[in-house]
Subunit: 200 residues, 2 copies
């Protein structure tokens, strides 16, 4: 925004532009939109930012984001806490919960190994996973990181730490997406689908 | 977001989703991003929202957004305040200023006529334009609203009010965009370009 624009608007647009996926043009549009909002709506937006940052933190056990000390999933007695699904981020917990089929608990790593970007094992919540397992034990740990280079590396790394402890470590199945069209599947997916074929 | 998500995060995501062009999925991603920001960064974002809403208001003369009583353009003595460019929104002022060619002043209507959406002339800053012209006079009013149904209707309406006052009212030229390709121009644009052809 050029210097004929009001400074507080320029600052607000810059804040929006600092968010992921929002360019300067969209940020400017959002800043103008804020000007058309009611005073109360703007104040409650500002308060929501502060509240989320202040009141939400990581669950003592699974490291998922929650406003309690222990998240609703970890404190739910009907869930099997001997099966731990290890995911990259809180978004992934939401994705699994939407299936309504998983009854174990989770562990959120808050990232994936990526030494090139300086993300080494100590930057992830791996020691919390080990501490938790040594405390309460586990029958199975499901590595549910993305099927990417970083996701696979992280899964391998964590599996390497857990297997010596005698814990069963599994990985999500890779294959054709349900409803997908074979013709459009990439080679690696198709290879994995062939390799992991099941009896009918 | 399902109920296993922390409430303050759900509220924050809803605030982001209420902004134009941000869907629920992006809003959730933005809310998670806020969690990874520093406390100070979140506070300064919240403050930027409050500051912009509180300190920015409409210029007494041109109705553009500014934190002063009179905006930098209206208070700039080197600009010709006898030529008024009438635009829909503050974004359009920025667009004209980027050309660095226009030396008149502006008038921001804050909308376009759209009776179907309940936007009647009294919702726009038309009376402020008339008051301003009756006070300081004007040699020319350039109607620079978008070449859309609403933009054209608004331009016609305002022109109809100003012409009886003996003021010269002009409309932006429509034609081929510079660098555009004739083959891809729509029929109306091409017709306007033909109709408004100039001597070489």
């Amino acid at each position: 925004m050029a210097d004929h624009n009001a400074l507080p608007l320029v600052i607000l647009a810059e804040k929006f532009a600092s968010l992921p996926g929002i360019g300067m043009k969209s940020a400017q549009r959002l800043a103008y939109h804020v000007m058309s909002m009611d005073d109360e709506a703007v104040e409650s937006f500002a308060q929501a930012l502060i509240d989320a940052k202040k009141n939400v933190h990581c669950c003592k056990y699974c490291q998922n984001l929650t406003e309690r000390e222990i998240c609703p999933i970890c404190s739910d007695d009907s869930r099997d806490n001997r099966v731990i699904c290890v995911v990259e981020s809180p978004k992934d917990v939401s994705a699994f919960e939407r299936t309504r089929e998983y009854n174990g608990v989770y562990h959120v790593l808050h990232g994936l190994l990526s030494p090139m970007d300086g993300i080494t094992p100590d930057k992830l919540r791996v020691k919390e996973l080990l501490a938790r397992i040594s405390e309460t034990g586990a029958d199975e740990v499901i590595m549910a990181t993305n099927p990417t280079v970083e996701g696979d590396a992280t899964a391998m790394y964590v599996a390497g730490l857990l297997k010596p402890l005698g814990i069963k470590v599994t990985r999500l199945a890779f294959g054709l997406p349900v409803g997908g069209i074979l013709e459009y599947a990439d080679e690696v997916t198709l290879y994995r689908a062939l390799e992991n074929r099941n009896d009918m």
